[in-house]
Symmetry: C3
Subunit: 338 residues, 3 copies
């Protein structure tokens, strides 16, 4: 079950334009587009006339026109034209969703529109900020969103799944500290005077040992941000890995991958940046294939109860918060139907 | 739900021969063949012995033999031979269906055989009549049969779906007149002194403006015939488009496309005829892809109620008749089981 | 429904090694491997930690390690290492199944482990015995295991399905004698002074007519062995065809094909042996494609009741025994849950 009263990263701002973009979020088929005057719109992807997908149609000016009979709708879902007749029946309208562009993503709210408060979108203010360079990408994963979230919150798998790419054996045993504040979960991992990887050494210009601090913040429905700080007495660099996780269906998920850095060239075509991106693709490919075989295992598992280990502490806290929010949403639904 | 007490166009007569033809009609797998003496047969496509499909077997003379153990059945479904034993158990027989060849099609009746009256097969007497040239083709559509029927009865979509082929903007707004007589729906659209399309002008030898009359007749379960008459003071030509629609399953349909003309060369290889056929294929391809995305939309739509526009008048009448017949079949079923 | 208190041929012994082998038996996903000291192991193919398939992991020494977090398990399913912590929770273990190597196969027991008695594995003692040469192969069939068993027990189909390979018309009518002893079904077919096929004549060195005796023994869940004896006054040769049938799911089956002979060269590369194998492949391909279309027919058939013929006598006895064992297992299950 999905949490509906949440903002979900549904698209990159740069994906939106006059060409309709169809994407399913939490089982809701949505068509997204940007009007000529720049408005970002998210509507139910279904013409109320005869259930054709609006995404098969085309945008012109401020409207989207259905491909089947040419019926037109504005960014707010109101019908503006039925070519065959002058009057427009009141029921001829499409549901539109709160849709806010922030930090390079367009965030959709599928739940109760009265609760849609854009100030609760996660604060990733460094996207687009001076001195920061970011890169964002969409992954499509054939696994449940909580399996994807678990994977992102669990770094103890690194030496195993990623042993051919970024895994080092110590990662399995470095102690982490997990804390909960309200609906957020924090994980910290501090290492002092360690030898940096060649990559970090080159990028930070480090000559010897460094201090390293990794801070993960998770907030619901499932947005993970990991800040990796590397420093010695001369220099300090920060890398941030940001992963909004957006359910498509119970068995498929949009996983967003972003990285931001306060060092190096502004260009994504910088050789070091390209190297980092290539490595990220390889690492994500390992994770994605694993999330998918986990889903297959879960599909066959029936009422299987996982046995936890200590390294699961962070993801268990996150799952508890999701479970509490799920119960709150159920209780709200009961109150509304009572 | 299908209407079962109806004749459905199941095959072209020319598809029937000694090679068994397997086709599913209204969820019933049927094997069709023609015996040596020319009898057209439609049987359940399942050997009563061990449920092998009879269509995997072969026809010889007046029988079809199962490929598994060589058991043979006549066109009436009676078992004529069990190779391993002299006696034939009374239960060893296959259900055969009323099956009538008319107008180039073989029509099957899957419902109560006592109600199977061939005089209720739609009257398309011009197929094969002197002065008429016809062409028939099968389309397979991954959409419910009523979606297909709607598409054929709704010409207001022409300027939109078919804008690259046969669509002209006026089609959206030309008024149509819908009338109902018994179980039939009629739609008329008359235009006086209009400029013919280059195609119609060339085929009819029209030099200037013409009168145009389009008459659509629909009858259940879903057989649509459109007669297009073009005339000036010197000449008059008629084109007929005939579309029996035959359900395969709840989500897939056999759509027959036929055209008949009382003008031009008798040959399908006539350059004008070839041009018309090519255009028909392009137009049908546009319709088929649209019916299929509509079905996908409907699958996701749950209990969605479409909002009607005026141009839906004809198809709404047809749907009402289908609904009434459905209720009559349900009432009959209740009476028989009571 | 499967019989669970049975030994099923799950793998060839030679398939087992350090590379994990994943196979589903009776809907249970199993990982099989052989440890460094030669132990054959069959475990649930699912890590209890986070439901990753163990078959994605790797075997080292006496253990299999999960690919996700490196958790290790022995051949008995006990956890031997969690890399992230010193203690091992008691629930961290995988179910292991009784698994016995015999006659070239490894046999698994998925039911009540207290009932797993290896002496009830079918007695195919000639596999590996002096003077006998055997060959074993796995077929994957998209049909229910009882359809596969029926096919193997029913030789009356030979003249029809196999008319291009081994079928001769007489096979349809040669009388067979079926007898039942306990849970076993026997079928005998004796022919005196018949002309041997060129193949049998060449292999047995027969110059004239021979006697022929075919004895089929079936025992549950479904293991079929056919002994074909050919002899004249000078020589006598035996060919045995052995087919353990192992359900994968309700609609898919592992069919094992083995042949053993007490004549000819020991090598599988012997020209006569190669000829026999090639013919077997062709014959099995005909059977497999037929079992699969039968399954398709059955899927569409609903509550269809097959009409038996005399040639079905053997398979009907086998089905009765399966049905009785099924009821016994149901009764046991009720007693245990009471």
């Amino acid at each position: 079950m999905f949490l509906m009263n949440q903002w979900y990263a549904a698209a990159l701002g740069k994906e939106l334009g006059p060409r309709p973009l169809a994407r399913t979020i939490c089982d809701v088929p949505v068509v997204m587009f940007r009007t000529e005057t720049g408005k970002a719109a998210a509507l139910d992807d279904r013409c109320p006339h005869r259930y054709a997908p609006l995404s098969a149609g085309e945008c012109r000016g401020e409207i989207i026109a259905c491909a089947y009979h040419g019926i037109e709708f504005g960014a707010d879902g109101a019908c503006t034209l039925i070519p065959h007749q002058p009057n427009i029946p009141p029921k001829m309208r499409v549901r539109s969703y709160p849709f806010v562009e922030r930090w390079g993503w367009a965030w959709i709210w599928l739940g109760d529109p009265l609760r849609a408060d854009p100030s609760t979108i996660p604060d990733y203010a460094w996207f687009g900020a001076a001195g920061w360079h970011s890169f964002q990408r969409h992954y499509y994963v054939k696994a449940n969103w909580e399996i994807c979230a678990d994977n992102l919150l669990d770094l103890s798998h690194t030496p195993f799944i990623h042993k051919k790419t970024v895994g080092v054996p110590e990662m399995a045993t470095i102690p982490v500290e997990t804390t909960v504040e309200g609906d957020r979960v924090f994980q910290r991992r501090v290492m002092s005077q360690v030898v940096p990887s060649p990559f970090v050494a080159e990028w930070g210009g480090f000559k010897g040992r460094i201090d390293r601090r990794a801070t993960v913040v998770w907030e619901p429905a499932s947005n993970m941000n990991a800040e990796l700080l590397y420093e010695d007495s001369a220099n300090s660099i920060i890398l941030r890995l940001t992963n909004p996780v957006t359910p498509e269906t119970e068995r498929t998920t949009h996983v967003w991958f972003a990285w931001s850095r306060n060092f190096g060239s502004a260009s994504d075509a910088d050789p070091m940046a390209l190297r980092f991106q290539e490595q990220s693709y390889a690492v994500m490919a390992e994770d994605v294939s694993f999330m998918e075989i986990q889903q297959q295992g879960l599909d066959r598992a029936g009422d299987f109860q996982p046995v936890a280990i200590r390294a699961d502490a962070t993801l268990i806290q996150a799952r508890r918060i999701v479970e509490r929010l799920r119960q709150e949403e159920r209780a709200q639904a009961r109150r509304q139907s009572a």
